[in-house]
Amino acid sequence: MEMRAVYAECLAELMEQDKRVCLLDADLAKACGTRKLYDRFPGQCFDCGIAEQNMASIGAGLSSYGFKPWIESFTPFATRRICDQIAISIAYARQNVKIVGTDPGIAAELNGGTHMSLEDIGVLRSIPGLVIVEPVDEVQLRAAMPVLGAYEGPVYLRLFRKQTPVVFDEGYRFELFKADMLREGKDLSIFVSGLLTRDCLDAVEALQAAGIDAEIINVHTIKPIDRETLIASARKTGAVLTVENHNVIGGLHSAVCEALAQEKIPVCAVGVQDRFGEVGKMPYLREVMGLRVEDIIAAAKEAVKLK
């Protein structure tokens, strides 16, 4: 099932349970998978037109009135374009607005460089009080949605729109602020968020063949980051690799380095090397950005060498 369909289904459940939950769009409800909610919940859905700044601040105004708005757009327009509205109208004013950015990083594919947001986590991570969550698959997303809905405060949900390979088993329980151990290992800690989580698991066999027993931890909540789990893993293995569909500046890699700054443990990165995006399909983009399984394997070997 596509991630946006799961997201829309879960949002519909939240809207059904609580009439104060509402949805705001900036002319991308169809793309975000929520257009049908407008028919089902006409009094709870508002398309603001192509005016993301207004959408963000209207969301804050509704929140100040006791409503629980979710605002959504493509990742660049839901984050960097409205950074000040998120900072001031939403976060500084401590409003309960959920911000959903769809098609992060290379997921923007054919929309190309203008729509390919590789800096969104970096842009938002330094705003106090804002929680940042990036789900991996439909199981994790389905488990996360009610938790995020119940959380009182601003959250940025970095959401892949289409189908993703399933990583989590049914019965998975989502715990906000708590990273998920996917595989225990003793030689290297791989910390990964979002899209590339499956690729890290796919790298395990080749790494084992090279004598590296990798521990893989999914960091679904990038802010606040689960320092305790990450530090414990890093101390155990003595080497870290971060893997993300984002610029290596400002995102998961930066967050992990900040958490491990006192640890004297090498931290290597698979991520976008401080460059803009470009148009192309996923295999091409993975190749030019260095986000393939073979890139993970190569970086993992380098990380272990640094021990």
């Binding site: 509402c22 009094g43 508002f46 603001c48 037109g49 005016a51 700044q53 207004n54 963000a56 601040s57 209207i58 969301g59 804050a60 105004g61 509704l62 929140s63 100040s64 009135y65 006791g66 409503f67 000040d84 509205q85 900072a87 001031i88 109208s89 500084y92 004013a93 401590r94």
Partner: protein, 275 residues
């Protein structure tokens, strides 16, 4: 509660000058220009209860030109939201009265503003929230003329008209000045009334927005538009620094200026007609 609006205006101006003079600096020009509006809203027009600042269904006032915070605080203190002594804490570390309006700090402030353009969108969200809640509240919002150069103002204007938010009455403090020069010389917003009308709003043009009777009549007139299917914009032609001659005479330099305690005392005497 006092009912003589002219006297209330004098009180608000004097308290504002006292707290800005105590601090030594402040956004004095754009505070003085909106005094009559604040007196009319807080002492005549709005359904509010200072004893219950969170009263459900209360009318809201959102000061999108958030730098007029000191004027709002003087009005709130005079209306009884908090002790007037607290005005002297303006902008001091740990105060509940920061330079720009903050809903998490000040009783009676419903929306945080300061990054221009955003407060107005928030006000539109509040008006939508009131409509959805069917609580009958009227939402008042104040926009600066320089602030009207922000694109977000016009995004919000379009949305409010499109969604028929006829529980929203907005005001422009049209004092014709901004920080760097006159609004006309920077990027002119004229013809303002025609712009708002073209965006689908009722427009009321007040010749002298520092004549409290004209403002009172305009607000009463604007209330007739409640339920009409359209929001209303009241354009207040004001004077930046109104009520204190040397501040008025500073012209565009009066946006954020030094005010000594002696100057504040002289200004108060002038406002009271004792100079």
């Amino acid at each position: 509660m006092k009912s003589d609006l002219k006297e209330i205006c004098r009180d608000i101006r004097c308290d504002m000058m006292t707290c800005i003079g105590h601090l030594g600096v402040g956004h004095v020009g754009g505070c003085l220009s909106v005094t009559e509006l604040l007196a009319v809203l807080y002492f005549e027009a709005m359904n509010i209860d200072p004893k219950r600042p969170d009263m459900p269904g209360r009318d809201r006032f959102i000061c999108s030109k958030g730098h007029a915070g000191p004027a709002v605080y003087a009005a709130l203190a005079n209306r009884g939201y908090f002790d007037k002594k607290e005005l002297l804490t303006l902008n001091q570390g740990g105060t509940n009265l920061p330079s720009h309006c903050d809903m998490n700090r000040t009783p009676g402030v419903d929306v945080t503003a300061g990054s221009l353009g955003q407060g107005f969108s928030c006000a539109v969200g509040v008006a939508l929230g009131s409509k959805l809640s069917k609580d009958g509240a009227t939402v008042y919002a104040l926009v600066g003329d320089g602030e009207s150069q922000e694109g977000q103002i016009w995004e919000a204007a379009m949305f409010a008209a499109a969604k028929k938010l006829d529980n929203l009455i907005a005001f422009t403090d049209y004092n014709k000045m901004q920080i760097d020069d006159t609004v006309e010389n920077i990027v002119d917003i004229a013809p303002l009334a025609e712009k708002w009308a073209a965006f689908g709003w009722h427009v009321i043009d007040v010749e002298d927005g520092n004549d409290v009777e004209q403002v009172s009549a305009a607000v009463a007139h604007a209330k007739l538009g409640l339920g009409s299917g359209k929001p209303t914009m009241v354009i207040l032609n004001t004077v930046k620094g109104c009520g204190v001659k040397w501040i008025e005479d500073l012209g565009v330099a009066n946006h954020n200026t030094n005010v000594s305690e002696e100057q504040a005392k002289a200004a108060i005497a002038e406002i009271r007609g004792e100079a």
